[in-house]
């Protein structure tokens, strides 16, 4: 009952704050780059009294992203803003489950991570320790939210309604997770990793973690996963995990814990927040749309499916009739093995091959392009589909409905007018 009252009071305070015109006005401070503020941005400060100008300042660093939710901060990138070969920090999506840690309280030089649990020698390591004791590697690795594409499921699936842009492929610098785990000495009893960080639960309860996920020990020991402390040659952006995070490519982004403080090796499948229930799980069997699936029939997602984006031109573009235009984008798969890319301008009736580059390293997205001419004036849709080495392609329609709307890898399509 007391809790309930508290909830009402907190809300009332927020409701009072809700009447003010803008965050900048309210706080009596100018926001630099206000003109660059993403469309649809809401003044965070009065959606949440615990979050002030700092969050606002972080959000405006993301140029042109769409804010889906300000508490917690979730932002996605429109497809045409993902045209860069290497995704810049300003255009990497943000998926948060909790409150962003105060980066001033957590400077990079005093930050450490702990490796413990089912290991011979628990380790506590700073960024300097990592650089000194392990080979530093730089890799371009894509990272995609498991719920990217959720918006297209019908009936709706619960969670942030991501459309296309919860994907990016920056260049990460760090050390191999495998090297660090080997140094700690993984015991035979090890089954799963458990990742822990310092972001706060939305309720403010210090005993609760917003998210703590992990991967099977075999995945953690593959050579591609890294503990990253730089992105595109700079310290990690605060919203993307400053100062240290995991990057576990090929699997849902939630396996790549941000603001990483501890990797605990467990002798069972990790059961932290968002490991259980329906979170990051798919039905064990295909279900009809809208089915409530019993929890015991929901299984943990591993690899992400094969997928691609058209990043140029922006949907709705006009092209001159008879002129050849370049269509381009990126393709990726949870196995890191896209082998073919095709485009269609006739709603999938016929397909033509696109030129597909090899990845710069495993789990970097692959760039593709195709030259197209349109036969007569009118409205076209350019459809794009990637195929992996097993011959598995992207479906033209939304794939199997599931309660949380994961793994939607339907073909991306953009509208083009030939006039």
């Amino acid at each position: 009952m007391a809790d309930k009252k508290a909830a009402m009071n907190i809300s009332r305070r927020k409701l009072l704050l809700g009447g003010v015109g803008s965050a900048a006005f309210m706080l009596g401070t100018d926001i630099p780059f206000l003109k660059n503020m993403p469309k649809g941005l809401l003044p965070v400060a009065y959606a949440n009294d615990d979050v002030g100008l700092d969050d606002e300042a972080l959000i405006v660093q993301k140029e042109g992203l769409t804010l889906l939710n300000a508490r917690p901060i979730n932002m996605e990138t429109p497809a045409h803003l993902l045209d860069d070969a290497i995704t810049p920090a300003s255009r990497l999506f943000v998926r948060n489950n909790g409150i962003v840690p105060d980066y001033e309280e957590h400077p990079a030089d005093s930050w450490t991570i702990t490796i413990d649990g089912e290991v011979e020698t628990p380790l506590t390591l700073s960024i300097a320790d990592l650089k000194r004791n392990f080979e530093v590697v730089t890799k371009q690795l894509w990272i995609e939210c498991g719920g990217n594409g959720r918006k297209f499921y019908e009936p709706g699936a619960s969670g942030n309604q991501w459309s296309l842009g919860a994907i990016g492929c920056p260049q990460w610098t760090g050390v191999r997770l495998r090297d660090v785990l080997k140094k700690a000495g993984v015991k035979d009893t090890a089954v799963y990793t458990a990742h822990h960080s310092v972001d706060m639960h939305l309720s403010g309860d210090p005993e609760k973690a917003p998210i703590s996920r992990g991967v099977p020990i075999a995945k953690a020991l593959e050579e591609d996963s890294i503990i990253a402390f730089e992105m595109n040659g700079e310290p990690l952006p605060v919203l993307n995990g400053f100062p240290m995070r995991l990057v576990v490519p090929g699997w849902p982004g939630s396996c790549s814990q941000k603001w990483l403080k501890r990797i605990q090796i467990r002798d069972q499948i990790h059961d932290g927040p968002k490991m259980t229930g329906t979170a990051y799980r798919m039905p064990a069997y295909p279900v009809s749309p809208g089915t409530e699936v019993p929890k015991e029939d929901m299984v943990i997602i591993h690899e992400m499916p094969v997928k691609s984006l058209v990043t140029y031109p922006v949907t709705g573009s006009r092209v001159k009739l008879g002129e050849e235009i370049e269509i381009r984008g990126h393709a990726w798969s949870g196995q890191g093995d896209v082998s073919e890319m095709e485009v269609s301008i006739d709603f999938g009736a016929t397909w033509q091959k696109a030129k597909l580059d090899k990845p710069v390293n495993k789990f970097a997205w692959q760039h593709w392009k195709a030259m197209l001419t349109f036969p007569k004036a009118g409205y076209y849709e350019v459809w794009a589909r990637a195929t992996d080495h097993t011959g598995t392609s992207q479906p033209s329609v939304v794939p199997g409905w599931n309660p949380k709307g994961y793994l939607n890898n339907m073909q991306h399509r953009v509208a083009v007018f030939a006039v």
Partner: protein, 147 residues
């Protein structure tokens, strides 16, 4: 079998012959119409609530029908039907109502989500009557039921 193929071919040839050549004037009309179509087409459609190439499988109504999150409104744009104050009070304590107002889930899922909020996310337990009111409100405005 052969006869069928031949007759199909003949039919095809025949129907082709019957379609008149598009005269130049008509073709120009058509080009003008395509240009007019392109001119009214909104290039920034990705996040607009229209039926379009990017959301081909989302019913136009699914999003457009929903009330929009409005940070400048005292109740964030919640439709003012019975239950909006309770929803504002309970659902906005921890998270923004933006996440609530983008949902189109089934009534069963709203039921699940209310339980989940209490069991896992520190939401205070609701009395039966209040819970029913909130559930009814969410289903009415932000569910797959709303067509």
């Amino acid at each position: 079998m052969r006869a069928v193929i031949i007759s199909v071919l003949m039919l095809a040839a025949c129907s082709e012959a019957e379609i008149p050549e598009v005269d130049k004037e008509l073709q120009e009309h058509r080009n003008t119409r395509v240009e007019a179509m392109a001119a009214v087409y909104d290039g920034s459609i990705q996040y607009k609530d229209t039926f379009n190439a990017l959301d081909p499988l989302i019913k136009r109504s699914a999003i457009a029908r929903s009330s929009k999150f409005d940070p400048n409104d005292d109740y964030w744009g919640l439709p003012r039907t019975e239950g909006y104050e309770e929803v504002a009070a309970y659902c906005a304590s921890c998270h923004s109502l933006a996440i609530v107002m983008q949902q189109r889930v089934t009534p069963e899922r709203w039921d699940y989500l209310l339980n989940w909020m209490v069991e896992k996310q520190n939401m205070p337990e609701l009395e039966a009557e209040e819970r029913a009111l909130i559930h009814r409100y969410l289903v009415e405005h932000f569910s797959s039921n709303k067509e």
